[in-house]
Amino acid sequence: QQQVKQSPQSLIVQKGGISIINCAYENTAFDYFPWYQQFPGKGPALLIAIRPDVSEKKEGRFTISFNKSAKQFSLHIMDSQPGDSATYFCAASISLGRGSTLGRLYFGRGTQLTVWP
């Protein structure tokens, strides 16, 4: 079954708007939650990641919000730009702690984001 559930499948946002993508998981052993960005013809690239000991992590225009009790996490893209148009994947893994191997990643189904100019 799908270990990580992602929504929406597609998202259209006006330039300057906020893009929000949501993910949910069931396995409470997950302790590493990355977001990957993938452009057509390219492999996924790590965008931002969070561990469950914090509720929010921000890097530039990208923010992860993490709700441990609800087993949900989301990606917020502020001031969305046409260059942000890509497919975004959330993922989760069971690592051996910070600085240790991440182990296999379980990916969501992806969200195709289109930002209109």
Partner: protein, 116 residues
């Protein structure tokens, strides 16, 4: 970071043939992974390939169909054997590296395979 080169970048193959995909990394890594990404779908792990040991396959994937080699710490191959149209997909190589006390998984650009 890690620079991953995959070859070929794309191929069109006939049913019943086999294709070997190569993955070359610019630095030594312990853990390498092979994923499959079907059009518009998520990434599904095929197997984990650590140097010096047999690859570990995920449920639904078998060594006879997807043999993997890992001869050293910078190189791996995945073979898709006896191909059928259902094998048409993007195959991605991934490595895990430790950078500034953080572990990150990096991906190659993928091999786009079409089976006729």
């Amino acid at each position: 970071s890690a620079v991953i080169s995959q070859k070929p970048s794309r191929d069109i193959c006939q049913r019943g043939t086999s294709l070997t995909i190569q993955c070359q990394v610019d630095s030594q890594v312990t853990m390498m992974f092979w994923y499959r990404q079907q059009p518009g779908q998520s990434l599904t792990l095929i197997a984990t390939a650590n140097q010096g040991s047999e690859a570990t396959y995920e449920s639904g994937f078998v060594i006879d169909k997807f043999p993997i080699s890992r001869p050293n710490l910078t190189f791996s191959t995945l073979t898709v054997s006896n191909m059928s149209p259902e094998d048409s997909s993007i195959y991605l190589c991934s490595v895990e590296k430790q950078t500034l006390a953080k572990n990150i998984q990096y991906f190659g650009a993928g091999t786009r395979l079409s089976v006729l």
